[in-house]
Symmetry: C2
């Protein structure tokens, strides 16, 4: 049994950090935007780039796996001890859309290091957090003197996470034998803050859709016809407005069916965290809190399902005014789901609700982009304790527990592979996921690599699944 | 006193119609879009084109009048009989925005004649209806053998009607002496249909605005922050949805203050018109009627004030989904006003209503583009009877009465100049004002010129104002 010394790991990571950042910057230059069909070739290049990087790290097996959508990358590195646990690291190599004129100070796909931060789309979500594993594994090997990791290590890095992972469950089922493992380590989450390292224990689910409404066959004069025919922009607004009641509860009938309510103990655990509302608001770039009545901000973002308008459009959007009844309007909505909710039932509830609310003369179409299930990890799982110890060694301080308001395919991994899902992530709320000027903190990224280096030794030493 | 023979007028118009259409096409090629600052030079060229055309028609005086916005064109042609009435023709030379990809089958600024129709932005609204006066005047002179019109003729053709005529009242006040007249003839309205010629007796007013809402300082992740901070797209939708109650009455407090309700007689007059809902719906390119409970479609568009969403935008509008809470959203709203309403009071009511409805954390700004007052013409006015006779001679059939749901600066003319406002228009609902593929019917345009030719003789013969 080999262990890693904190100093040896730290020294290795520090010595190889600059080269690691150069590699990461290369990867970030590929605009692997899965939501935009125009970027499909970039998503493929991103997969090929990663496969090459994992080979260079030492993985004996690296493969690009096709899906009906964007390709995923699989890698495998067996341990020389057949009895060692098998761990599957999950991440994604696709990124959110980003355009310079969204508010980026620099080109989103030309990474820039400034004041201890690396800026670029995907720096934190999720390329930085996937790639720290390559540095972590090499530190692990260097510090232990091993030629292979102390666990059977596998990685699955998908290419459609930012599009709701529509083909990921299918991919998991198709390759269940290759992906078989004792636990999944998801590196696609964040910590409480730079000062308060935490381990995430759950993620919300997600299903999102586009609703297209059509009224008149073309834009018509609002003086000649307005007030006498249905207006699709008005109807889109009425739908979006009706999503929430006056208590800001989601008003779609059946939406809350099955929701696991928070226990008093869970609420107390949340309340222990050093939450500063003004500071959180700054991180959220927002000027007030607003949400479901009867819940705190942390409860709202971690443990309550929500409905959000991600985009709305219809009619004239140019300079000045144009007095038309528009012919069409569109809503983009997303629903965050919590444990106990069923995404398919939520989708049907939304479909029924939309159909029932629209007046005659408004035709509509709903397209759901996909569904990601919510998940929760048991706090007392021994592998979770390994993650906590690895993090505490990297950070040199106590690690607390959080949940993640965002969504990932963690639940699919849990469901299809039938194993617990753990989270190892070092992003912080200020990293600006999905926002302009996304960045990652360079010292946290290094600590992520250190934690990963420790984790394989700790798991091998303390956990004997099956 | 000279009169025009129907045959002589008709023959003159027919003989000169092709050249007239060539001239109109030249004018339509100028994209005089007053709402778009980029087109300001085109609006100026349009004014200069018209001034030259009116000079060529024979007006001894033609002038381009500057405003703080787009220029207007004034022309004057005195009668040789000082006792003749003075008539001011009103129209506008600016047009609605138009882009090929809005649904136009041909370039909106490259006019095309097809199957008895002239297609192009402004063909009916309002360049065609301004320009038929040049042909009408020449026919009037030719048929009567006069060297000057039988009335003192003035024209004022403004350049900001499609932007709500923000500087028109000021222009009228500044030039009230030059514009002094006994009646205004507005040629910027339509008729019931190709088969049912009508004279309009009133127009609705208009005030429109843009409401900009800002929430987070940048787009933020809907998983990390959604459900806990206000979303400006949601708030824009809630505003737009709250514009109307469940009876589709406008729900802005104070909006209906002062509204002149329809009398039983007026409702009966409306009900006499051969209204075919299915046919009207086709003209509206719409698939159902919807409006204020308790009123017919004609009542809704002619005599009831309305609120309409002309445009809405916010957040992600590209392909697929993007799970953000958007940083900003925008509404473009227009309000049609009827006699008795005060535009400034309506604007203040909207401002108060918006301010009272938005939650903390959403900052907003409202910009009103302008206000056009509603107006109504007395049915028993002798000059209106002249218009009716002129129309009946051109069309060879009985002329009925309508109102116009659209808005124009007719009320400003009425208020500032202190004279009755009459309407002479030949556009029909299918002309597609403000819509793609705007057109004018060539035979109706010719009848407009004929009616104008008759009108000056009839007014001079029958009306002795003062």
């Amino acid at each position: 049994m080999s262990t890693t010394s904190d100093d040896a790991v730290r020294a290795y990571v520090a010595a190889h950090y600059e080269a690691f950042l150069d590699d990461l910057a290369d990867w970030l230059r590929l605009p692997s935007v899965s939501a935009d069909p125009d970027h499909a070739p970039d998503v493929r290049r991103s997969a090929e780039w990663l496969a090459a990087a994992l080979s260079a790290t030492g993985f004996p097996t690296t493969e690009v796996w096709e899906t009906q959508g964007a390709p995923a990358v699989f890698a495998e590195w067996p341990c020389d001890d057949p009895a060692a646990p098998t761990v599957l690291v999950y991440g994604h190599h696709d990124v959110q859309p980003a355009h310079r004129d969204d508010g980026w100070r620099t080109d989103p796909f030309e990474p820039v290091v400034d004041a201890g931060r690396l800026y670029g789309r995907g720096a934190a979500d999720d390329k930085g957090q996937v790639l720290f594993h390559t540095l972590g594994i090499r530190a692990h090997l260097a510090a232990t003197g091993r030629r292979a990791p102390a666990v059977h290590l596998k990685m699955i890095v998908e290419g459609e996470e930012e599009s709701g992972s529509p083909h990921f469950p299918e991919l998991l089922r198709a390759h269940a034998d290759r992906l078989a493992c004792d636990a999944v380590i998801v590196s696609d989450t964040g910590m409480w803050s730079e000062d308060t390292p935490t381990v995430c224990t759950g993620m919300r689910g997600l299903t999102d859709c586009q609703i297209d409404l059509r009224g008149p066959d073309q834009d018509i004069h609002s003086g000649s016809f307005g007030g006498a025919v249905p207006n699709p922009a008005t109807e889109a607004a009425r739908l979006a407005a009706a999503l929430h009641d006056e208590d800001r509860r989601v008003a779609v009938p059946g939406f809350y069916e099955g929701v696991e309510e928070l226990t008093a103990e869970e609420r107390a655990l949340f309340a222990e965290l050093p939450f500063d509302e003004n500071r959180w608001l700054r991180t959220a770039h927002s000027h007030a809190t607003l949400g479901e009545a009867g819940y705190t901000t942390l409860e709202r973002i971690w443990a309550r399902p929500t409905a959000e308008v991600n985009g709305v459009s219809g009619g004239y959007q140019g300079p000045g005014g144009k007095t038309v009844v528009p012919s069409a309007a569109q809503l983009k909505l997303s629903f965050r789901l919590v444990a106990g909710q069923d995404a398919e039932k939520v989708q049907q509830a939304v479909r029924d609700w939309v159909a029932a609310r629209l007046p005659a003369g408004i035709r509509h179409e709903i397209t759901f982009w996909g569904a990601t299930r919510p998940c929760l990890t048991p706090l007392d799982h021994p592998a979770l304790q390994s993650v906590v110890r690895a993090m505490e060694r990297a950070f040199g301080q106590r690690v607390r527990f959080t949940r993640e308001g965002g969504s990932g395919p963690a639940a699919d991994l849990q469901d299809v592979l039938g194993v617990p899902v753990l989270f190892l992530g070092i992003s912080v709320p200020s990293d600006g996921w999905h926002a302009p000027n996304e960045k990652v903190e360079l010292d946290l990224l290094a600590k992520g690599a250190e934690a990963a280096a420790h984790l394989w030794s700790d798991l091998a030493a303390t956990w004997h699944p099956g």
